[in-house]
Symmetry: C2
């Protein structure tokens, strides 16, 4: 059983108001070294069988289901 991680983030050209809100809240709480926050989604996916073909399946899944290719990009990493 292998584990594959997927990170989905907004493209740089897309505004991230939720991240901006976190950044402002951090500033209010006194965290003065935090200059920018962007929020994304993180998927831990357990796969069975051959890892290379599982990675292909996860790439396809990310494109079809996990990320919205119009606004988001994703990164797939095999972790174990």
């Amino acid at each position: 059983m292998a584990k594959i991680e997927v990170y989905v983030t907004y493209k740089d050209s897309i505004l991230d108001p939720q991240g901006q809100a976190v950044q402002k809240a951090a500033a209010k709480l006194g965290f003065d070294q935090i200059s920018g926050v962007r929020i994304g989604k993180y998927f831990e996916i357990e796969v069975t069988g051959d890892v290379a073909s599982a990675q292909e399946q996860v790439e396809k899944l990310s494109n079809e289901l996990l990320a919205n290719p119009n606004m988001e990009t994703y990164r797939v990493e095999v972790s174990e």
Copy 2:
């Protein structure tokens, strides 16, 4: 300017219905190697100044604002 990444996930003892829904959807779409999905949040945080003290600030921020310590755990990684 350094970048620090924070991963927030549910504790293993906490059910993740959203992840289960994604896993079922993946199975319906024919992805037969995907046996489990857990969903978390991912934060890309830009920090200024000394990296060690910035990392401390991010750890505190994660505990106070980004994660709910009752249900979630977090991991902080300095990436650049």
